[in-house]
C-alpha cells in the first residue's frame, strides 16, 4: 500500500534536495520543486511503477504578491487511481518571467486547464500547442485573478481589509 512516506522517500531518492517543502496539510502530501524540474517530476510520478500518478485532477495557479521572485505558484493535483492516493505538487515562478513547461504532452486534460491558468494569471506554458485565452475575451490585456486587481472600488472605506479579517 502506497503511503505519503513512501512517495516522499521515492522522490527524495530520485531528486534529492531538489524536491523540498514537504508538508501534509489535511493529509495530502504537498511538495515543491524548481520550475525547470516540473516535467521531470511529473514524468517520474507518471512512469514510476510504484507511484503511478497518472490522473491529473486539477491544475491551477495562485498569486502571492509578497513572495518576491516566486510570486506565482502553479499547483498540480495528481491522483493515483490504483492505490487511491492524491498528492499536490507546486512550482513557483517569478512573475516577470512566468515560463513553465507545459504538461499537455503528458496529460491531454492539461491543455485547457493551462489555458485557463494563462488566462487568469499569465503563466506562460512553454510548448503549449494553443496557449490563448479561454474564458475571457481575447482582447483583454491583463490577467484578472492576480491580486493587484481588486474586486471592489478602492476608494470605498466601508469595505477595507479589516472587514475581511485581514487588518
Amino acid at each position: 500500500m502506497l503511503t505519503n512516506d513512501i512517495i516522499k522517500q521515492r522522490l527524495t531518492e530520485k531528486f534529492g534536495e531538489q524536491v523540498n517543502g514537504f508538508e501534509e496539510p489535511y493529509g495530502m502530501l504537498t511538495f515543491e520543486a524548481p520550475k525547470e524540474m516540473n516535467l521531470k517530476v511529473l514524468n517520474f510520478l507518471f512512469d514510476d511503477e510504484q507511484l503511478k500518478f497518472r490522473f491529473l485532477t486539477d491544475l491551477c495557479a495562485v498569486h502571492y504578491p509578497d513572495n518576491v521572485g516566486r510570486e506565482l505558484a502553479v499547483v498540480y493535483h495528481l491522483h493515483n487511481l490504483i492505490d487511491n492516493i492524491r498528492l499536490r505538487f507546486k512550482v513557483f515562478t517569478d512573475i516577470n518571467m512566468p515560463d513553465v513547461y507545459t504538461a499537455s504532452g503528458l496529460f491531454s486534460s492539461a491543455n485547457w486547464m493551462e489555458r485557463e491558468t494563462y488566462d487568469f494569471y499569465g503563466v506562460n506554458f512553454v510548448g503549449h500547442p494553443n496557449l490563448k485565452r479561454i474564458l475571457n475575451v481575447d482582447e483583454m490585456d491583463y490577467f484578472p485573478l492576480r491580486k493587484e486587481f481588486p474586486l471592489e472600488d478602492q476608494s470605498r472605506s466601508d469595505k477595507d481589509d479589516e472587514m475581511f479579517g485581514r487588518g
Binding site: P25, F55, V62, H63, V75, R133, L135
Partner: protein
C-alpha cells in the same frame, strides 16, 4: 450566351472541398451557450474548435471577497441541474477546513438531498439525449417527476433551481413532515416512471442505432483527458468519489458502481440510467436510517458548532449567547484557520473539487473549482472527428455539458 454572363466563382473556391459551419453560440440543438466551429466534409466532421466562456462570471475572483457562507450561492450556479450537490460539496469543504464533524443524521439528510439531485440531473441529461435523437416525449413526460424532486427542495430550503441549501454544519432547518411525505411519494412513483422511461429508449432500435458506436472513447484516453463521473465509468473505469474517498457517511450505504465498456453515447446513457436506480436504492436506505432516529436524536439537523453555524433567528432575539454568535459570524470575528485543502464530491457529471487556500482571513485567499465538464469538454474534438454532424450533437448532449459549470 456571351462570356460575360457566366457566373464567376472566387479564385480557389472550386478547389475547397470542406465547409466551415459555425454551430452556436446559441443554437437550438445545443443546450447551453456553446460555440463550435466545425470543418465539414459533406456531413462528416473534419475538425472542431470549441469556444467556451460566454457566460463566465469570475466566481473564483468573487469568492476572494466573500465570507465562506456567502460563497454557497455561487456554487449553485455551477452545475445548476444539481445545485444541492455543489452546495453540499462546498459546505463539507468548509467543515473540513474548520474541523467540524457533522452528526450522522445530518449526513443522511444530506445524502437524501444529494441523491435526489443526482437523479434530477441524470434525468435531464438522459431525456435530452432522447430529444436530440428525435424523441421529445420522454423529456416532457419526466419533467413532472423532476418537479417532485424540486418540491422536496422547496420544503427544505424554499427554492428550487439555485437552491443555496444547507449551511456550514448542517441544514438551515429540520426537514418537515411534508418533505418526508413528498419523498415517500417520490420513492413510490418514480421507479415505475423510470422503468417506463427506460423501456422507451433502452432497446429502441432507432435510439440504439443513433447512439451506439458514436462518441466513443477508450478508458485510457478518457483518463488522460481527465474524464470523471458517468462519462469515465461508461468507458469502463470504476472510479466514483463516493466509493474511493467516502464523504458524508457514504461508507454506510450499499450500492453498486455501474460501468460500461465502450464509452460511447449509448453506454453513457445506460450508466446514467443505472445510476438512477442506485440512487433510488441509496435514497431508500437513507430514509430508513433517518427514520431510525428517535426522540431528541430525531431533531438533530446541524452540528454543534456555534462559532460557525448561524443560530436560529428566534434564539438570536431571546438568548444572549446566540446573539453574540450571530454577530460574530456575520461580522467575521470567528477564527478561520489558515491552511490549504482539496476536497471533492461526486457531482452528477464528475468529480467536483474545491481547492481552498485560507490565510486566516474571513474570505478565501484563493478558491479554485475543479469543474468536471470544463475538463472533459476538450475531448469533444477527438470524440466527434470523423462522425456525422448529427452524431456530434448527440455526443455533446450525452457528455452532460453544463455551460454554467464550464464557464464558472
Amino acid at each position: 450566351m456571351t462570356e460575360h454572363e457566366h457566373i464567376r466563382l472566387p479564385e480557389g473556391s472550386i478547389e475547397k472541398t470542406t465547409n466551415t459551419l459555425n454551430l452556436g453560440p446559441t443554437h437550438p440543438a445545443t443546450h447551453g451557450v456553446f460555440q463550435n466551429i466545425l470543418e465539414l466534409d459533406g456531413e462528416r466532421i473534419v475538425s472542431a474548435e470549441q469556444t467556451v466562456g460566454y457566460i463566465h462570471r469570475a466566481f473564483e475572483k468573487l469568492a476572494e471577497r466573500r465570507p465562506l457562507y456567502q460563497i454557497t450561492p455561487l456554487t449553485d450556479r455551477l452545475n445548476y441541474c444539481s445545485s444541492p450537490i455543489n452546495n453540499m460539496g462546498w459546505h463539507i469543504t468548509c467543515e473540513k477546513l474548520l474541523g467540524i464533524t457533522t452528526p450522522k443524521r445530518v449526513d443522511y439528510l444530506r445524502i437524501i438531498i444529494m441523491e435526489l439531485a443526482r437523479i434530477s440531473d441524470h434525468l435531464i441529461c438522459n431525456s435530452i439525449v432522447g430529444v436530440d435523437t428525435g424523441a421529445y416525449t420522454g423529456f416532457l413526460y419526466v419533467m413532472q417527476y423532476r418537479e417532485l424532486i424540486y418540491e422536496i427542495y422547496e420544503e427544505v430550503c424554499g427554492s428550487r433551481l439555485t437552491t443555496n441549501i444547507g449551511r456550514i454544519g448542517g441544514f438551515e432547518r429540520n426537514f418537515n413532515n411534508i418533505a418526508f411525505q413528498k419523498l415517500e411519494k417520490f420513492l413510490v412513483e418514480y421507479p415505475k416512471v423510470l422503468k417506463e422511461f427506460e423501456n422507451l429508449f433502452m432497446r429502441n432500435r432507432i435510439f440504439m442505432e443513433r447512439t451506439q458506436k458514436t462518441g466513443g472513447i477508450s478508458a485510457d484516453r478518457a483518463l488522460n483527458y481527465g474524464f470523471t463521473g458517468p462519462n469515465l465509468r461508461a468507458a469502463g473505469v470504476d472510479y466514483d468519489v463516493r466509493v474511493h474517498n467516502p464523504y458524508c457517511s457514504y461508507e454506510d450505504f450499499d450500492f453498486v458502481v455501474p460501468v460500461g465498456t465502450t464509452g460511447d453515447n449509448y453506454d453513457r446513457w445506460l450508466v446514467r440510467s443505472q445510476e438512477m436506480w442506485q440512487s433510488l436504492s441509496i435514497l431508500e436506505q437513507a430514509y430508513q436510517k433517518v427514520q431510525e432516529f428517535k426522540g431528541a436524536d430525531a431533531e438533530v439537523y446541524h452540528a454543534d458548532a456555534p462559532e460557525y453555524y448561524l443560530p436560529e433567528k428566534e434564539d438570536v432575539y431571546t438568548k444572549m449567547e446566540a446573539l453574540i454568535y450571530h454577530f460574530k459570524i456575520i461580522m467575521g470575528e470567528t477564527k478561520i484557520p489558515s491552511g490549504e485543502i482539496y476536497f471533492s464530491v461526486e457531482g452528477a457529471n464528475g468529480e467536483l473539487g474545491f481547492y481552498l487556500i485560507s490565510d486566516g482571513g474571513r474570505t478565501p485567499y484563493r478558491l479554485h473549482f475543479r469543474r468536471p465538464c470544463f475538463i472533459y469538454y476538450q475531448a469533444f474534438e477527438e470524440l466527434s472527428k470523423g462522425s456525422m454532424l448529427s452524431d456530434a450533437i448527440v455526443t455533446m448532449s450525452s457528455l452532460n455539458l453544463i455551460a454554467g459549470e464550464m464557464d464558472a
